[in-house]
Amino acid sequence: MVNYVWLAMVFFGVVAAAASGHIEAVTMAAVEGAQTAVKTSFSLIAIITFWLGIMKLAEAAGLVRGLANLARPLTRFLFPGVPRDHPAIGAIVMNLSANMLGLGNAATPMGLIAMQELQKLNRGDKDTATPAMCTFLALNTSCITLIPTTIIGIRILYGSQDPTAVVGTTIFATSLATVVAVTADRILRRLYGQGG
């Protein structure tokens, strides 16, 4: 699937550029995209390093396990394949909480830590996503948000009479998307089979 999407973007991009007579846009876009990617990865070094340190402390203090225990009813349903005291659960819970509060800078490192822990549980091919990873990313990309911080800032900037009016509509849309994502994940998991 990802192969087709990737190829389609490049293919239609080149065709569109050729058709409109500015083929040089493709080369420039390729360089620009690569640079953005490297910049993004480099800027992640700082926050990931910081949050990995904090997470290690939280783990040593027994707080990650405590958090995992609190969320157990929910995580047992969502991640049946992950052992209940596994550090992955703690990281998943922290990632989702940070997402809900609109704390993107903390959410990403937590998510990457969760993925590392889930990868440790990957008994199959290390190149292939496990069902638990797919569920986690379904939750993550549908992104349950309670406070859309960035957009509220922009609304205030452009003189909104009611900048937080969209909080309710956002929570409605994001909740529905999460339900759909989790349901789709469950159905697809069965269609694709448990293995690999």
Partner: protein
Amino acid sequence: MYQLLSGISRWAIPAVLLIVPIVALLKGVKVFEVFVEGAEEGFATAIKTIPYLVAMLVAVTIFRSSGAMKMTTRFLAPVLDHIGFPAEVLPHAIMRPLSGGAALGIATELIKTHGPDSFIGNLVSTMQGSSDTTFYVLTLYFGSVGIRRYRYSIISGLLADLTTLVASVYAVRVFLHH
């Protein structure tokens, strides 16, 4: 309710930074040493994502800069018109799963042009807040642990994005009376 939530949002990280080291210290953890030990892997984790992000962002940028994105918009606009989805917001809907920065740019432009409290302003605000950059998240998260086969993840991610689109139109029309 919003005041309470944004208060929690503002206090969450400082509270974590206060509680975690104190509890660790009380449990006899050597806080500085353990922090450094955990932080050690940060560099490798971030660097590992480079090839995956380069692959994804090169494709996304070509798609956007070449005019292919605009053509897709023109093609899809009449279809979405049927569910009352304005053509102006379509570039945002297409870019949202692909590029967070580009989508935010489009959202800002639309809010500036049409006003934050207009139908389009409220719609694009809702869409921006309620979805994530699906392809970026998948690439980054899977890339950091060397996963190359995403299986069905893209399907559930895109279904969520589609739901967001329809639900946003509905919510803004019904709750905000546009």
